[in-house]
């Protein structure tokens, strides 16, 4: 009999506000240690928190984008635990009544789209950072991160494989970036995931779950869940029992291990935060936020297909990020004659080259207008697509315009019928043997002649004209 894996995910997303959740300290990443702190986020006695309006708005926006209910009155609670990077000895969070509840996200699976329930999104504050590496007997604490606003996005246990979990996370990652509520850079810890994993026989009640921590890339998440599910299945099949516990994923060893000892301290003694009255927002505020909702990935994908006639695949590729979509639309604006050519050249040619350079579209050495300049020269027959690829290489390297490169290198396409005929005769004269074979019926050699003519023109002859003229001259 088979096993079924059951996965629920808790994702911590850093909200990209300029200031922290409860004080006016900057949230800029990578600042000198402890230079972005104040008595509030250092937990000094007597300091009072004042909530960041923008963090509230961005959480509401995220809630609306997942079709959730926005609680017009929500509350803050204290979650108590001791750790050196939590200077107050408690984290301000939302426990009893979160700002957002009952949403969902649709993910692609092998069997089509699947709806994953989102239980809640609550607001809370981030802790500081503890540094242990290379230190003997001590740890170092940087509290710049202390108090940065987080959304904790909690899913229902609706996922049934590591692949579904990764698909959900990718959708969520794309969504928060589209909404511009988070930069969601996983390497900077702005998008972090814990996974609750259990196994059961299909149809039976949920098994005992373990919580996996320290999953900081899509690849590790998949590996950790697959390892943990297999561990639980083997444990049960050997007559053992799964213990509810927190386990740490060790990416170097590719395994999860128990974090024993932390369990008994898991008594957070939540109670209402006495320093903060209830958070009240009005339906008008919620409606105003809804009115400002940007186009979401699914809508954009559909529009690209409809408005520009793109394939589903190209529309999906180009709507992966807002930056890429904006780049594409700027390109279409500058080369409106052929949106599909724009899509092909961006998705297949430019992105591939940028990837080799390890460069994001936002840092592309050429602008959409420069790219359009190249596509214009293909459209008007000045250069062939093949030559255009070389010109693109040169553009990326030098940052120069296509016209300047075409001019300087003499790459203009040869469109003159007489000149092409002359080239063809030259090739036919030079290859009498092949010409004889061709005339004797070996028509495959046509391609050979095309190649020779293109070579003789150093790639500059118009390929369509070469084909047509060659056919005419060979068959006359």
């Amino acid at each position: 009999m088979s096993w079924e894996v059951v996965i629920g995910l808790e994702v911590h997303v850093q909200i990209n506000t300029k200031t922290k959740a409860f004080c006016g300290c900057s949230t800029t990443f990578g600042a000198e240690p402890n230079t972005q702190t104040c008595p509030v986020c250092l937990g000094m006695p007597g300091q009072l928190p004042v909530l960041n309006m923008e963090a509230v708005n961005k959480t509401v926006l995220t809630g609306l984008a997942i079709g959730a209910r926005i609680n017009l009155e929500s509350r803050f609670d204290r979650k108590n635990y001791f750790y050196p990077d939590l200077p107050k000895g408690y984290q301000i969070s939302q426990f009893a009544v979160p700002l957002v509840e009952h949403g969902h996200l649709d993910i692609p699976t092998q069997d089509g789209e699947k709806r994953i329930g989102i239980t809640r999104i609550h607001m809370e504050e981030d802790a500081g950072k503890s540094l242990h590496e290379g230190l003997d007997g001590v740890s170092h604490i940087d509290l710049n991160r202390s108090g940065i606003p987080l959304m904790e996005i909690v899913s229902e246990p609706d996922m049934r494989s590591a692949d579904e979990a990764v698909a959900y996370l990718k959708k969520l990652h794309q969504l928060v970036r589209f909404l511009d509520v988070s930069d969601a850079d996983m390497e900077k810890g702005q998008f972090r995931c814990d996974a609750n994993v259990s196994v059961r026989r299909p149809g039976e009640p949920f098994g005992t779950r373990t919580e996996l921590k320290n999953l900081n890339s899509f690849r590790f998440i998949k590996q950790a869940i697959e390892y943990e599910a297999m561990r639980q299945i083997e444990l049960i099949e050997d007559g053992g029992e799964v213990v509810q516990e927190t386990r740490l994923y060790d990416s170097a060893k590719g395994e999860t291990r128990s974090m024993r000892g932390k369990e008994e301290a898991h008594d957070y003694r939540y109670f209402p935060e006495p320093d903060l009255p209830p958070l009240r927002i009005t339906q008008q505020q919620v409606d105003a936020i809804r009115d400002g909702m940007p186009e979401l990935p699914a809508q954009m994908r559909a529009r690209f297909e409809q408005e520009y006639g793109l394939s589903a695949y190209d529309a999906d590729v180009l709507s992966q990020t807002r930056e890429l979509a904006a780049w594409y639309e700027a390109l279409v604006a500058a080369h409106p004659a052929d949106p599909k050519r724009c899509a092909n050249w961006l998705a297949n040619e430019l992105l591939g080259r940028l990837k080799e350079l390890g460069c994001e579209i936002s840092a592309s050495p050429i602008s959409p207008q420069q790219m359009a300049g190249l596509l214009d020269r293909i459209a008007d027959g000045t250069i062939s697509g093949k030559i255009a690829k070389d010109v693109l290489d040169e553009m990326i390297q030098s940052g120069k315009d296509a016209d300047a490169i075409i001019e300087a290198k003499g790459l203009k396409q040869l469109n003159d019928a007489d000149a092409i005929d002359a080239l063809i005769r030259q090739v036919l004269d030079a290859n009498p043997q092949q010409l004889e074979q061709y005339r004797a019926g070996k028509v495959k050699l046509f391609g050979f002649f095309v190649g020779q003519v293109m070579k003789a023109s150093r790639g500059q002859a118009n390929p369509a004209m070469v084909n047509a003229r060659l056919k005419a001259l060979l068959d006359d």
Binding site: T19, Q36, V50, E54, A96, L135, I141, L143
Partner: protein, 92 residues
């Protein structure tokens, strides 16, 4: 009401002697017993009170108002190095 004084002390990171534990146990039980009287009141029709004042939370615009005051703020710290707080090793 029975109180696990040792557990409460552990959660609060307070070290107790046996004498203190023996003394505080009954005291805590007494305090909680006193508060327990509240549960005799029927609160079914009363909305939960999250805060004693009926006010909504004032919010703050997202504008940076604090600069770097690290030197002053680290004055009371027992140990710092290169701008970092130094604490006894903590690792899970």
């Amino acid at each position: 009401m029975n109180i696990d004084v040792r557990k409460v002390a552990m959660l609060a990171r307070i070290r107790l002697t046996d004498e203190e534990a023996a003394e505080l146990g009954p005291q805590l039980a007494q305090i909680l017993g006193y508060i327990e009287q509240l549960s005799e009141i029927d609160t079914d029709d009363i909305p939960p009170t999250a805060h004693p004042h009926d006010v909504a939370m004032p919010l703050r615009p997202d504008i940076v108002t604090n600069g770097n005051r690290r030197d002053a703020l680290q004055q009371p710290a027992p140990a710092t190095e290169a701008g970092l707080y130094i604490v006894p090793k903590v690792i899970e």
